[in-house]
Amino acid sequence: MAVGTIWAVVEPSSGGAATNGLELLRGARELTSTIGAVTFGDASGAAETLGDHGASTVLTVDTGNAMAGVPVAAAIAAAVEARGADGPTAILLPQTYEGRDIAGRLSVALDAPVLANVVGLEERDGRLVAEHAVFGGSTIVKAAFTTDRVQLFVVRPKTFVAEGGAGGAGAVEALPIPDTGRPGATTVVARHAEERIGPKLDEAPVVVSGGRGLGDKERFAMIEELARLLKGAPGASRAIVDAGWVPYSYQVGQTGKTVKPNVYLAVGISGATQHMVGMKGAKKIIAINKDREAPIFGIADLGVVGDVNKVVPKLIDALKSR
């Protein structure tokens, strides 16, 4: 294939490789057969999983206690330059905290522009074309680079579906980190994890999200209860994250998580475009909102026009008594 070698950045998650990284490997497999997975932290030990998901080589970066962005980008940039024509023609990064940090640094180090918010990738006449969803997902814009620099694509999670069975463990190679100078001076001194039970928000088959229509912080307990009864994960609109009702990690949407559950329940959420881009991919959507004109009803498979304080407690009782 004309596309050449593709590298995908796979970040760590709960002791292994993050799903969004495995998704990138799946996307790369559609385009080429020579794939490198660039990993750091706990993902470096996941060579077998990465190989199974399509990585022929696993390139590891030992970031220690540093924030990942600077050292990982420096190591990749040096490796790209050292490899010359044998190096990657494209690098896929997840649209996450670390992914964007790495992409920004790489872009400057390699003097390469970035296409971000990618929701699809295809090959057209030997060049890579990226898809972007704009205006709340109502319009698709396709874009491509006009330079022969390494192509940097920052891809939204859930763009591809992770799939194993592609082969054995890849060959592992440690990438050295060149001196990163002043920018390398950030260290993580402590990590704080919030207690969360049940499935992860971006992997749960059912997501129940609450919005400002709940009225106050205490009523988010209804959302958690409903999520628990449906074996799903609770989520939130940005309005209530900003209001401090729930942590940022609950946020669904453009600036938060992209979710594609079998069922998404939007409770007291208006359906702003920035919220919808994060959940429009759900198989089925159920919305409860007192305003018949709320935009969320435009995409809901089942819409209930009603007061959350009346509908939700009854729904919880009905589910409990089953």
Binding site: P183, L230, V263, I286, I288, F297, I299, L315
Partner: protein, 264 residues
């Protein structure tokens, strides 16, 4: 302490966006406002300077048509001065070119009001939302960066921040000067008083061109972006389904729907 805060000026986000059929880029017209996302950065900058016992906040913005309305919002909130880079050649700039321009402007701010200790930006803009500009800016300025920050404490030559993560937050330390990006909700942006709005009219707002900053037109705008839009299509529309008014039994509809989907 000198804090430079990036302020993007955008068309009123409530007005529906559209693409220029010719260049296929976002049409930026009408009344401009300060991107709401940046009001948090401005507030953070003001609080940090106050906590440091004094200093200056310089607002930095890049805009194609001598636009300063949105920057006036930042000055009204309390920023001391502003540098706006405006040039017809900036039209079509991508994140990397934008970062290049902002970097030159931050450097200029340092020449003016003393070395910049901290650069503050939003995590992502409302209309562009690439979220890569800030880190590119940090890289061009050879600064460390801490992104997705919810709390910042500056202490002389060091900054300690709480950085949001998927699981919770990390405590991160960095040397100064540095760049941080903040998300909405981390501070409560102040509403400028009428007096402050009037006072903002007399604050220094320097509008400079590319040449003033020693930048070349080939590094920015459509030329610098080195990417092109190949196609614009309507996305497959997701259709709404049944809508029912709650008559006291709507929860039963939800239960039977969940049953039909085999969720319960």
């Amino acid at each position: 302490m000198h804090v430079a805060v990036c302020v993007k000026q955008i068309p009123d986000p409530a007005a529906p966006g559209r693409l220029d059929p010719e260049t296929k880029t976002l049409v930026r017209e009408g009344k401009f406002v300060m991107d709401d996302s940046d009001s948090y950065g401005v507030e953070m900058a003001l609080q940090l300077v106050q906590a440091a016992g004094g200093g200056a906040v310089t607002a930095i913005s890049m805009a194609p048509n001598n636009e300063i309305k949105g920057v006036k919002d930042a000055l009204a909130m309390g920023a001391d001065s502003a540098i706006v880079v405006s040039d017809p050649a900036l039209k079509g700039s991508d994140a990397l070119s934008t970062a290049r321009v902002l970097a030159a402007a931050v450097t200029r701010a340092g020449d003016g009001a003393g070395p910049v200790d901290l650069v503050v930006t939003a995590t992502e803009s409302t209309d562009g939302y690439t979220g890569t500009t800030p880190v590119q800016l940090a890289a061009l300025l050879d600064l460390p960066a801490v992104t997705f920050v919810k709390k910042v404490v500056c202490d002389g030559s060091k900054v300690t921040v709480e950085r949001q993560t998927d699981e919770g937050y990390d405590e991160v330390e960095s040397t100064l000067p540095a760049l941080v990006t903040v998300t909405a909700g981390v501070v409560e942006p102040r509403y400028p008083s009428f007096k402050a709005i009037m006072a903002a009219k007399n604050k220094p707002c320097h509008v400079v061109g590319l040449a003033d900053l020693g930048l070349d037109a080939s590094q920015v705008g459509f030329a610098g972006a080195r990417q092109e839009i190949t196609e614009v299509l309507a996305a497959e529309e997701r259709k709404g389904g049944d809508i029912v008014e709650d008559d006291g039994d709507a929860h039963l509809r939800i239960v039977s729907y969940l049953e039909s989907l085999k969720v319960i």
